[in-house]
């Protein structure tokens, strides 16, 4: 049997037990492309003259565990072996009496054996048996738990998700010590073989949503995704939507409260965040701080956040339409002031705004990659010199600089990064509409945008719930924030499956 046929032929290939141990190891190593970091160790079972070997990848395993929990107990065993134990029975006895590993699995196919070794487990082979044992000795490199970078909160816990699958699950489990918390793990990616976990609380989450997410995950099983954001794009229905249809969060507290509402979460291996489905516009605009402060302040700040969303999308467009099309809408003194500021500026208002918006985008993109050392200088340069100098050179009017800075600042007030990215695209579209048709163009754009938003569905739940249709009970938590004592049930729009009587005891958790 040639090696190639073995690799590209049927997946589950048994290793003939007639082959010697060496042969088996060679076959396995060939299957894994003869990588040099796959190590093997041959030794004999203590008290018996039977060859055993372990196969592992040295950078994925904890050497001490391999030595102490696998090799040592087998070598130094003082077991009373019964007469003529076959290799299979020997494997059984080793598993039951000698191995100290906490997870031990019996495998017989080459595919599963290689998967296990690639996962950081140690494969134990005994001469004469075609089965193998996979022992958990995993020690993956990982980052320690740090502050979430994109979603800081003033008062909340500063733990953020890290890239380690187990740690992320642990962060959720330790907040939700609930026996109904259900974790389903699927393997995604033909080449990458990463794990994706679907988390929900059985009995609270709507079964339809759970099934839909499950089916979607199954349907993308063969795609090789690197991170959960790519997974999000594959799983969501409309590929061309600029709005995010699943929420990405770095904070475990936010994740846990979404689960309690009845939403479903997806954690992907080696990704820094967790995906939450379904998502609505109001949940994208909520930030944990609303719940850690007094409720009234939370309401005021939520309102300000909505205002800043409107500002960041519409302000340049409104400025262009008012100055070019409807100067009558301004008070006369303001009008004279703006006209005075624009005297001598060579560009029409639309081009001016477009140039400034593009410059803003360049600055924002550059800011992501700024090395920390140069950061301070560049911000001083960008702010003072560019803003001041451009105005004094007579290229841009000072009003435009104010408007663009307001727009930029407002875009940072939006809690969800994906939403602020979407608003950047919308900003330019509305500017073009305003430049062609003035306020009428903006209003047509708003109409179409609203129509588009209302037709977006995130896993069966409309994107614009609970703003439309009116679900008055749900407004208590999305648009305004009311004190805890008034927040009784779960959001109506999720149609959670638990009965009404169960609602009374479970008030919403802080986010």
């Amino acid at each position: 049997m040639s090696v190639y046929r073995k690799r590209t032929g049927r997946k589950n290939i048994n290793i003939n037990s007639e082959n010697s141990l060496d042969n088996k190891i060679t076959v396995l190593k060939n299957y894994m492309s003869n990588s040099k970091d796959i190590k093997d160790r041959r030794f004999k079972v203590g008290g018996k003259n039977v060859n055993t070997a372990i196969l592992f990848i040295d950078n994925l395993v904890d050497e001490f565990m391999v030595q102490d929990h696998v090799i040592k107990p087998i070598m130094t065993n003082s077991f009373e072996w019964p007469q003529d134990t076959g290799p299979d029975a020997m494997l059984e006895i080793i598993k039951d009496y000698m191995l100290y590993g906490d997870i031990v699995e019996e495998v017989c196919t080459i595919e599963k054996m290689s998967l296990g070794v690639l996962d950081g487990e140690t494969l134990l082979l005994v001469e004469g048996s075609d089965k193998g044992l996979l022992i958990n000795t995993q020690n993956l490199p990982k980052r320690s738990i740090q502050e979430p970078q994109t979603e800081p909160a003033v008062k909340g816990p500063n733990e953020g998700f890290v890239e380690s699958f187990k740690d992320n699950l642990a962060l959720i489990r330790k907040r939700l010590k609930n026996p109904n918390l259900c974790v389903e793990i699927t393997n995604i990616g033909k080449q990458t073989n990463n794990n994706a976990a679907l988390i929900y609380i059985k009995g609270i989450a709507n079964d339809r949503i759970v099934n839909e997410v499950k089916n979607k995950l199954k349907s993308v099983k063969n795609y090789d995704v690197i991170s959960c954001e790519q997974l999000m794009q594959l799983v969501c229905e409309r590929a061309f939507s600029i709005f995010p249809l699943m929420q990405w969060t770095e904070r475990p507290d936010k994740a846990v409260s979404s689960l309690l509402e009845g939403k479903v979460g997806v954690i992907f291996d080696n990704s820094r965040g967790m995906l939450i489905a379904p998502v609505t516009l109001t949940s994208l605009m909520q930030s944990p701080d609303d719940y850690y402060e007094k409720w009234f302040i939370g309401t005021v700040i939520t309102v300000i956040r909505y205002i800043s969303l409107l500002i960041t999308i519409f302000l340049p467009a409104v400025y262009i339409s008012i100055t070019s099309f409807h100067p009558g809408m301004l008070p006369t003194t303001l009008l004279i002031s703006i006209t005075g500021a624009r005297l001598g500026v060579p560009l029409p208002a639309f081009l001016e705004a477009l140039i400034m918006v593009v410059t803003l985008e360049i600055l924002q993109e550059a800011g992501i990659r700024l090395p920390k050392v140069v950061g301070q200088t560049v911000s001083i340069v960008g702010g003072l010199v560019i803003g001041q100098a451009v105005v004094q050179a007579g290229l841009i009017s000072p009003i435009m600089v104010i408007i663009i800075s307001l727009t930029a600042i407002a875009s940072f007030a939006i809690p969800s990064y994906s939403l602020s990215l979407a608003s950047r695209v919308l900003r330019v579209i509305f500017m073009i509409l305003a430049a062609v048709l003035g306020a009428f163009g903006i209003s047509m754009g708003v109409l179409y945008l609203l129509g588009y938003l209302c037709s977006l569905k995130s896993f069966g739940i409309g994107f614009m719930e609970p703003l439309t249709p009116y679900r008055f009970k749900d407004w208590k938590d999305s648009i305004i924030v009311l004190p805890k004592s008034l927040l009784k049930g779960r959001p109506e729009y999720l149609h959670s499956s638990s009965a009404v009587t169960k609602r009374k005891g479970c008030s919403k958790n802080g986010k």
Partner: protein, 373 residues
Amino acid sequence: MENDKLLPVQIMPIVSSTMMGVSILTIQRSLSSIAKGDAWISMILGVILGVFSAIFLYNLLRLNPGLDLAEIIVCQAGNWVGRLFLLSTTIYILIDIGLSLKVFSFALKNFLLDYTPISVVSFLLIIVIVSVVVKGITVIAGVTDILYPFFVTSLVVLIAMSTVEFQKANIMPIIYGNIQNTFKGSLPAFGAISGYGASSYVMKYVTEPKKAFKWFFMGFGISSILYILLTLATTLVFVPEFLQKLTFPTLFLSKAIEFGTGFFEGFFERLEAFMVLIWIPAVFTSVGVYTFASVRNFSVLFNIKPKFQKYVAYAHIPLLFAITHYIKSQIVATNLMDLFDSLSIVLGFGLTPLLLVLTLINRRRRAKNEVKK
């Protein structure tokens, strides 16, 4: 466009916005030219007429659950006669949409844009409205839901701000020697508020029809009150001789307001440009729901399967554009629109009771047949 479901509470904004539409901008002129200072009483009478017609409609829909008006006509009045009725209704609705769009485009051109050709304005309106209608009734209802509070609030604010300018002498004496004219004026008033009829096409998609009627009457009530208050406000602020000449009295009302002497002076200049923008949601809903109704009419008329209703909606674009383009002048469009609105009395008091009677007759016949069996 199939399997859309609406909540009962969504009927309220739909009915309310469809009633307001474009007519609310121009109705005071025609009322005032007939009834002079008692235009607001004509409006009240028109609303009372509307209540009767709404009761007919309510009973008709209650007795024919799960069907919209087009299907009811075909089902109750027989295949051929029904299709004849349906054809006339379809043509009426189509022309009504075209006229409303044209008049509103004139208002937009008048107050917002000067030099943009009117075909561009109306074309853009048609495209945006049809593209939202194509997505289905849930989306139309959703957009209406979001825009409805802004619209109603700004109308209420407009009326509240105009109270400063009220002069009681403009409406006195109340009904002196004017009774006949006042009653004559209730006809165009009824025509203006007859938009609620389009809700008969929407009721089919509501999950709980019984509860929906409560919201239907609430929406009807809100719109009627706003209509009456607005007519009252315009008649109180302007003398009747002047009101007869204004093309868009409601928008002129916002021109005549100066918000606070000295406090916010200069801040709310040109309020009417802002008001026209606020009006766009109402026009959108009214035209959108009517377009949806017209799509359904066509589908039932020509037996088109629900899968292809999308293409019928797209086909409305050139149709509506042709209608709006055909009428060129502002005066002709306004007069025609008033005429067509008055024709709605045929629908309200002619077609609906007829269908109701037919429904009752058919039911009795069916009951008799069952008894015989």
